[in-house]
Structures are given as structure tokens and as C-alpha cells.
Symmetry: C2
Subunit: 82 residues, 2 copies
């Protein structure tokens, strides 16, 4: 089964990469863009039966820097699972 | 309103960062992890009325390298919008 961990910077933490993307999009003519923030998404292939709590523990221990980042865990049951 | 672009490597493209994450999680004792792949998520603040097609065009022109990456666009209407 798959688990997805989405890691984003907490509000208020400066995001220079996002700022650069917003400026670049505006420079390309996309005037509707006001701001951009960049995060990462880690797609894990895990053994069936892995719980959301286990994946959250992985995020806390390795995937996210919880001082400046927040994370969200989503589990996707394997195709064909009940 | 917000638009989210999720960019991931196409299947078959080698992902050394994902491989390193999978090994590190296994080393930390998370034996249920079989594989990991890393992508990025760009959260855009865009003007109301921006269409999914416009955001997809931003992804094609700047946010994703469509030779090796695929992307998905999601629009979130502003809170309180109909």
C-alpha cells in the first residue's frame, strides 16, 4: 500500500524558493499569481497494515523538520483491497 | 484562491533521494518501508477565477520538467466562495 507525506513550511517561515517561483511566473506573464510556497511530498510504499500513526512517526523522526515544517499523512489502500 | 501543483518523477526515472529516504527509514527501524519517491508540491495563491488550464500551463512552462516529471493540478476555491 501507499502512504503520502506532504511536508510544507509553517506559515510565517520565509520561503525564498517560493518567492522566486512567484516572481518567475509573473515574469512569464502569469499576472494572476500572487504568491507561491514550495513543499515536498514523499510517496512511501509500505507493508499492508501500516498505520497512519507509524507514518506520522516516520515524518517526525526523518521526513520533516518539525521546528519549521508541518506535515500531513494520507494512506491509500492498495488497489483491490476491501 | 489557492492552486496546488504536485510534481513527481515519472515511473522508471531513478530517484536517488527517495532511495536514500527509504534506506534511512529502514535503518531507523521502520521495517515496513519498501520504497520511497520524492516529489514537490507548489502551493500558489492566484487571483479568483484562475482556471485549471492556466495553472497547468504554469506547470508546463516553469514548475515541472515534463521530460522526466509528471504533474497534477488541484484548485481550492477560496473559503466562503460558492
Amino acid at each position: 500500500m501507499k502512504a503520502r507525506v506532504t511536508v510544507s513550511l509553517k506559515p510565517g517561515v520565509l520561503d525564498p524558493q517560493g518567492r522566486a517561483i512567484a516572481h518567475a511566473l509573473q515574469g512569464l506573464g502569469f499576472a494572476s499569481v500572487r504568491d507561491a510556497r514550495v513543499g515536498k511530498v514523499i510517496e512511501l510504499e509500505v507493508a499492508p497494515g501500516t498505520t497512519e500513526a507509524e507514518v506520522a512517526e516516520m515524518a517526525r523522526r526523518l521526513l520533516a523538520n518539525i521546528v519549521i515544517e508541518s506535515f500531513r499523512v494520507e494512506l491509500e489502500p492498495a488497489p483491490g483491497a476491501p
